[in-house]
Amino acid sequence: MTELINISSYTILLSLLLFMPFFKKRFLITKKISLGEYDLPVLNILFLTNLFLIFSIFNFTITQVTSVFYSIIFIFLIFFFSNFKKLLFPKNIIYFFIFYLILLLIFSIDLSKNLSLYWDAQKMWLPKAISFYNDGLIKDLKNTAYSHYSFLGSLLWAFFWKISGSEYEYFGRIFFLAIYLFSILNLLSLISVDKNIKIILFLILTLITYDYWLFRGTQEILVFSFLLILSKYLLNLFMDHKNVNINLLNIFLCLNLIIWTKNEGIVLSLVILFILVIFFKKTTKFKLTLIATLFSMILVRFLIFKFNGLDFDLSKDFEFSNIISIFLNNFTIINLALISKYIIFSLFKFPHIVLSMFFALAIAFDKRLFKKFIFLYVYLILSIFLIFLIYLSSPHDLDFMVSTGSMRLMLEFSAPNLLFIIIFLKNKFKI
């Protein structure tokens, strides 16, 4: 019973953390920015997660970060109660907060019952999380397996495990649930419908996307969630020409998190950059600034790894010196069919991908819409192309590699495809 009470109170704490507005509107840099009721919490959580990363880069231990965190929360609570009326806290948010909390509790109970960790989680991610949890620093990761892998997921796992006050690791994974649910709810802010309809859509989307399989300690669900948050701002950027700076800020904050969560996140961030450069109607100088920003972020990631004595490789599963000859060698009909087979399997594993493809097809028949949202189709093709490229460049047993990894890749790359559903609903029902 004590554990159940701990889970309940922890889910309330996490929900409050993700929903609280930490900024007063007038504190924001420019008055031209008009933020929606969802955008403030998004900014909060993106800043907060990036802040944890910066703290770890500057060799703060988890215990120190936790102390800073509790201090900030304490100051915030004083600020909150003394400025309650001046803060942005729309009524709708409270309504969504309640349903968010209910779902987080249901899924947290599922997590606390299932508990099993996937191979990669046991071998790579949990040992890294335990190292951080025991006040290990980035340089200590060289004593863990796959030290060349990005580690943000393990850092967040350790931090949220620590602040829970519990000895059980799964409390850290409850944050993965929290950010996943938050990203879905945030996506739905793109449509203007009655709050009950929005809750129904929220429940349907979680019903078709939730599976304990995603929360076995692997990091794909984090990439999926960050990419889903990013997708909303990518759509806003292309459709709504207001708030360019804030949309770009959110996109780059998400990209930074993706780069530090998984190594393939670096490639994924380049795909997003490609979409931005091609489809964002701005001057060449502006686009060059975007390219320079992302490349600086990637460079910083590698420099921090080098500075802390961690492996510099992007992946040990590839032989980069022979990658072209391996690719050409693997480029056979049999291998293409094998990868296609697992991509089709993943459609059955994740119904939201099938649904997205269905709506993508429906939108493709409308020339005007197709032209308007062509960047999403480009992303779809690039992401599938990337999966083929990754596996065809692998020197290992392709069957093993594809069977163990392709579904997870499909899942993490699939987040922006959910926009097809939103766009279809928006245009069909004018919402």
Partner: protein, 129 residues
């Protein structure tokens, strides 16, 4: 929104929440979380003495009240199971040994170690004599 539509949407919300509860076995999970402790739930979800042998390591950890991990040797290809011992996962006690998935042809170091637990001649817990 008209009242009838509001009622229908509320009804749908309840149905969907119940569906999510059913899909995740919410009520059974709730019962298990309140009635079983963390370690026995862990033991339930993993294989016992095959593949990773996670369930067996949990069983030995609880039975012998171990706080630091013994050396673990698994004859199946699997990730190391030291993570089960949480924050002490690096403090391996070389005087204790867990053998997982021993095959018939493999010989144990009977002379050096005393067997404290033997599960179907496949998984063992031993301590140095």
């Amino acid at each position: 929104m008209p009242k009838i539509q509001k009622n229908i949407s509320l009804f749908l919300i309840i149905i969907l929440i119940l569906l999510i509860c059913k899909n995740t076995n919410f009520f059974k999970n709730l019962y298990d979380v309140t009635s079983k402790n963390h370690d026995s739930r862990q033991q339930d979800v993993y294989d016992f003495c095959e593949f990773f042998g996670t369930g067996y390591v949990f069983y030995i950890k609880n039975k012998f009240n171990l706080s630091t991990p013994p050396e673990i040797k698994n004859f199946e290809r699997s990730p190391q199971q030291y993570w089960i011992f949480g924050k002490n996962f690096k403090k391996i006690d070389k005087d204790k040994l867990i053998i997982l998935n021993k095959t018939k042809n493999t010989k144990l170091k009977d002379n050096d170690f005393k067997i404290l637990d033997n599960f179907r001649n496949r998984c063992f817990y031993m301590v140095k004599k």
